[in-house]
């Protein structure tokens, strides 16, 4: 993958609003944001209801994902362009999710909803009508999804990249500062994990920094490009943003997103936890 095949500009999206075969999808942390106005023609996916199993903590299964996209009118051949608020956190999460289920052509709108709004581009309230389809997903591609046991095994052996804010990494906060303080049982980070907040990869307007700048940021933080990498955050959405940078923009071969992330790891019994600003020992 590369920047050209995985990222589109706001201008490209505006120029292609009426192009057949392109489906715009908004995915936001604030799931009401779409209802207040969205890019013309865009459909909505709700990450809390559409993309999560409503009983167990896990994703919807293959059949549920197929039913979801069929009902929303997305075809296997469509180019899916994702965007959202919060610097594309949940849009990047959905991007990774679409890749997990094998969608061929997925792209992110660079800068997401924020860039679109700061450019004063049009948002509309009318809902698009799309014909139902028969969508076929693949089995989950676990080469891009990490589970807890391989995360524990990666301590001191692979690159672990903690993309939360420095205060969350150090254990001074348990959750992002715009959310109430709750979640995992313990604060801190996975020992040996490098702290590279997701925001280092983005400009103030939410667009991604240049490949050269990105490479330098992760190199200086101690990422060993010869090793496999697992990215994590609190619930796997901000780490999808970093997974996108490492895998899709910089082309690193083996990068996984740990969607269990700190809310799982920080509640596990018996695993090592590091506190403070240093990575800690294996």
């Amino acid at each position: 993958m590369s920047r050209e095949s995985s990222l589109v500009t706001a201008q490209w999206v505006e120029d292609n609003l009426d192009t057949d075969g392109i489906v715009l999808i908004e995915v936001d942390e604030d799931t009401t944001s779409y209802d207040k106005g969205h890019i013309r023609g865009a459909i909505k996916l709700d990450w809390t209801t559409d993309l999560q199993d409503q009983v167990r903590r896990d994703f919807v299964n293959k059949e549920q994902f197929e039913a979801l996209l069929s009902e929303r009118g997305v075809s296997n051949d469509d180019t899916v362009v994702l965007y959202g608020g919060n610097n594309n956190w949940f849009a990047a999460y959905a991007y990774w999710y679409f890749k997990l289920y094998g969608h061929r052509d997925v792209k992110l709108l660079d800068g997401g909803r924020k860039k679109w709004e700061l450019d004063s581009r049009e948002l509309v309230s009318e809902l698009p009508q799309r014909e139902k389809t028969t969508y076929t997903a693949t089995e989950q591609d676990h080469s891009i999804r990490a589970f807890r046991d391989e995360v524990v095994a990666a301590i001191g052996a692979q690159n672990l990249v903690d993309v939360r804010s420095p205060d969350e990494y150090a254990g001074r906060l348990l959750a992002p500062a715009h959310l109430p303080q709750e979640q995992a049982q313990r604060a801190g980070h996975i020992p040996t994990a490098a702290s590279v907040p997701w925001s280092k990869a983005a400009n103030d307007d939410g667009t991604f920094k240049s490949d050269e700048d990105l490479k330098q940021i992760y190199t200086e933080a101690g990422v060993d490009w010869s090793k496999d990498t697992i990215a994590y955050c609190r619930i796997g959405e901000r780490s999808s943003h970093t997974w996108f940078v490492l895998k899709e923009l910089l082309g690193q071969e083996n990068v996984k997103n740990y969607d269990g992330s700190w809310t799982e790891y920080g509640s596990l019994v018996g695993v090592p936890v590091a506190l403070g600003d240093e990575p800690g020992e294996a």
Binding site: S120, S165, D167, L173, A177, H178, P197
Partner: protein, 98 residues
């Protein structure tokens, strides 16, 4: 966002005793700015969080004790930085003029 009251956002449902709340409103002249983005930067200038303003231009963060900077981005305006000190058990009210 509902519950806006004169003098700041309603704190109904927020356990102020346990939180270091930073909240306020973005204004262009006397007009609230509903489509701005407010970023919370820590004392080293590192990004910590970001929220879009509500229909009434309001925003809120749950921070921690210490010094923070709010960086406000809005269409057709230069970014504005505002220093603020937060403490658990209190509410720091901030007005940002763009």
């Amino acid at each position: 966002m509902c519950g806006a009251t004169e003098g700041g956002l309603s704190l109904e449902g927020v356990n102020v005793a346990k939180e270091a709340v930073i909240q306020g409103q973005v204004l262009r002249g006397d007009e609230p700015v509903p489509n701005a983005y407010v970023r919370l930067l820590d004392k080293s200038g590192e990004f910590t969080a970001e929220v879009p303003t509500s229909a009434t231009g309001h925003f809120r963060f749950f921070a921690g004790d210490g010094e923070w900077t709010l960086r406000t981005l809005a269409p057709k305006a230069d970014p504005v930085d505002t220093r603020v000190v937060a403490a658990v058990g209190s509410v720091a009210e901030v007005q940002v003029a763009i």
